[in-house]
């Protein structure tokens, strides 16, 4: 009897010890590292639009008490921020639920929360920024702030989704709908007497997105789902075990649900109705998904397109996203930027301070085997800013910076038409 009691006692003690040690390790590994030293500014001789613009930037978060969908708005403001680093952006993912973001890294920003709108130099073009699937809008603060400094108002809707591939089908319909909702809200708010009066020019609009946000941007610009093209792409992917099978698994069995949500009735055999917003003048897709559109669906896009991707992307494979988009949009002006050997999340948040576990285990959130994230972000800032300035503000110098005849930037593949 005594032996059994001793064994039970030992088991309990060992169990408690294991729980305690695991909890201690978890607590330590989940904590954030101190912010890393300021990264060295990259050489911007070849990428002049990677440098911040002349406008000080403000930022405001609008809840559902103000807008139909939660929004974060970056805008040119009247006065420079009081401090150099006035806020922290969380690079976060909705892991636990659609309304509960888990931060994996943070970075410093220069936008001033609640700063006064610059109504003297406005109104400014509108950029709708669509975040990646289950990634928060603030994860893209680095890009939004940069665009606002170049004289654009960036409005980022918070798409309501959690990190569950089982709900990707829902986002397929909800996201283009969210863009329409945002545009309607901004249109009303920019009218006389509205909060954005004099700040936003709602006649000049671009949609920018990363990953499923890239899909969202393309859909808003006119791309149409194509069942036949998607099925063909998936057949090919299954045959070759292409990473596209992830998207196929998530969407193919749920096309009927998407059709129901969209009120289309039965699943169209070919092209679906457009979910586009007619106001959209230009579109930027960063590692955006496009296989569901296929060649015919992408051909419906006629506005200028900038498509950027990493050639080592296994989440939204380059050939099924970035390359497919460039090859098949009907736009007169289009650009493809290929970051050689870059992966999918290179376009996500800055990682100045990260959870310790990420500095021990590379999960791809903050590390890329071939690229320094700051350098990659500088390239993205350059191309996106130059493209949007050229298309939305008719900036000739910016357009010239996109000419395919310019010297090549290292580790960047570049194709362009119309510049």
């Amino acid at each position: 009897m005594r032996v059994f009691r001793n064994i039970a006692f030992g088991v309990i003690i060992v169990s408690v010890l294991i729980v305690g040690l695991v909890a201690q390790a978890g607590s330590y590994l989940l904590a954030f590292t101190s912010p890393a030293a300021e990264p060295q500014p990259s050489d911007t001789e070849m990428t002049p639009y990677a440098v911040a613009g002349e406008h000080p930037v403000g930022v405001r978060c609008l809840g559902t008490d103000v807008a139909a969908i939660p929004l974060t708005v970056w805008y040119p403001s009247l006065e420079p921020p009081i401090r150099d680093s006035s806020l922290t952006y969380a690079y976060a993912i909705n892991m636990l639920g659609a309304d509960s973001a888990t931060a994996i890294a943070t970075s410093e920003g220069n936008a001033e929360p609640g700063a006064a709108y610059d109504l003297v130099d406005g109104p400014f073009p509108l950029v709708v920024l669509s975040h990646g699937f289950a990634i928060t809008a603030s994860s893209y603060g680095w890009l939004a702030e940069h665009l606002a400094s170049h004289g654009m108002v960036v409005v980022a809707p918070h798409h309501h989704e959690s990190l569950d591939p089982g709900v990707l089908w829902q986002s397929t319909y909800d996201r283009p709908n969210d863009v329409q909702t945002v545009l309607s809200f901004v249109d009303a708010a920019a009218s006389p007497g509205g909060d954005f009066e004099g700040l936003i020019d709602t006649e000049t609009v671009a949609v920018v997105g990363h990953s499923y946000g890239g899909y969202t941007a393309l859909a808003a610009a006119g791309a149409r789902l194509d069942t036949g093209a998607f099925n063909t792409a998936c057949d090919s992917a299954y045959a070759t075990d292409d990473p596209l099978v992830f998207l196929c698994d998530a969407l193919s069995p749920r096309l009927g649900d998407i059709a129901d949500a969209a009120g289309v009735g039965s699943v169209p055999a070919g092209l679906w109705p457009a979910w586009s917003a007619p106001q959209v003048d230009a579109v930027v897709s960063m590692a955006g998904d496009a296989a569901m559109f296929g060649e015919p669906g992408l051909g419906a896009i006629t506005v200028p397109v900038l498509t950027i991707g990493g050639t080592a992307d296994t989440d939204s494979p380059f050939q099924w996203g970035t390359q497919l988009t460039y090859d098949h949009v009907s736009s007169d002006r289009k650009i493809e930027v290929a970051l050689e050997d870059a992966a999918h999340l290179i376009f996500a948040g800055d990682c100045t301070s990260v959870r310790r576990i990420l500095s021990l285990v590379s999960l791809g959130f903050c590390s890329d085997s071939s690229w320094d994230r700051t350098e990659a972000h500088d390239l993205v800032k350059h191309y996106v800013s130059a493209f949007l300035l050229s298309e939305l503000k008719d900036d000739q110098a910016a357009g010239a910076a996109l000419a395919p005849t310019l010297p090549e930037v290292a580790d960047v593949g570049y194709r362009a038409e119309g510049y």
Binding site: Q24, L87, A101, S138
Partner: protein, 259 residues
């Protein structure tokens, strides 16, 4: 030997046995209480780590509002810890008193002070955070962003409260380590390890206040120094307890010295 002598001897033995079993119980209680803290504390801090986003007020406030139950469980863990700390302080005082009554009292008072600062600081700032994200009508005088900022303000203050109780905890560990080292009824090694843990906590609290840039390194230092000391001490008390004969001798010597 008379029958009276026999009766007296029996009573003394009985008293000695009682004391022995009381000592065993005390040591075991201290071990269990210590281990309980070693499990609950990291779980509580893990909850905070998951919900609080350094510098991002909106995300922090939203996370806490959305996971309020989890946040409250984290608070409950902290409350449990400071209640345990007070009981543990008394138990350790009773165990280590024969070595030095004054220093044992000092170690226990430092441990109680740690618990009080934890209650007044960590738990209170968490309560204020909950009020800030609670959306009470009178908070409408603050904008939503200001309410979020309040929530993060209290949570960031919380980090400094941890450093503040760290001073008291470090002192308690140093004194307890010294008492264990000198005791003779517990091996010297746990004493040395406890003193190292105390030095680690002192380094973290002082170091982070003076040189915040070293916070990362200091957190690793405290983890490496503190866990072995506290764990070994807790397990020793739980499994081996104290050498009762030496404890009795030490207690007797202390009593005689006091007389």
């Amino acid at each position: 030997m008379t029958s009276t002598d026999t009766e007296t001897g029996g009573a003394e033995r009985q008293s000695g046995d009682k004391k022995t079993s009381r000592l065993k119980r005390l040591a075991r209680a201290a071990g269990i209480l210590y281990l309980t803290i070693l499990v609950i504390y990291p779980l509580s801090t893990m909850v905070r780590s998951m919900l609080v986003v350094p510098g991002d007020a909106a995300a922090t406030a939203q996370n806490i509002a959305e996971s309020e139950t989890l946040f409250r469980w984290g608070m409950a863990g902290e409350v449990t810890i400071f209640l345990i700390e007070i009981v543990l302080a008394a138990v350790l005082y009773a165990l280590l008193r024969p070595v030095s009554r004054a220093i044992s009292l000092g170690a226990s008072l430092a441990r109680v002070a740690e618990g009080v600062v934890m209650a007044a600081g960590n738990v209170f700032t968490s309560i204020l955070t909950l009020v800030a994200v609670g959306g009470a009508g009178y908070l409408a005088v603050f904008s939503a962003e200001q309410q979020d900022a309040l929530a993060l303000f209290f949570q960031e203050a919380n980090d400094y409260v941890v450093l503040t109780w760290g001073f008291f905890f470090a002192l308690s560990l140093l004194l307890t380590g010294w008492l264990v080292y000198r005791s003779g009824f517990i091996p010297k090694i746990p004493g040395v390890l406890l003193m190292l843990a105390g030095i680690g906590y002192f380094a973290q609290s002082y170091g982070t206040f003076v040189a915040p840039g070293l916070a990362d390194v200091l957190e690793t230092v405290v983890l490496v120094l503190a866990i072995p000391g506290e764990l070994v001490f807790a397990l020793w008390l739980l499994i081996k307890g104290v050498d009762e004969e030496k404890w009795q001798a030490s207690a007797l010597a202390a009593d005689q010295a006091r007389l």
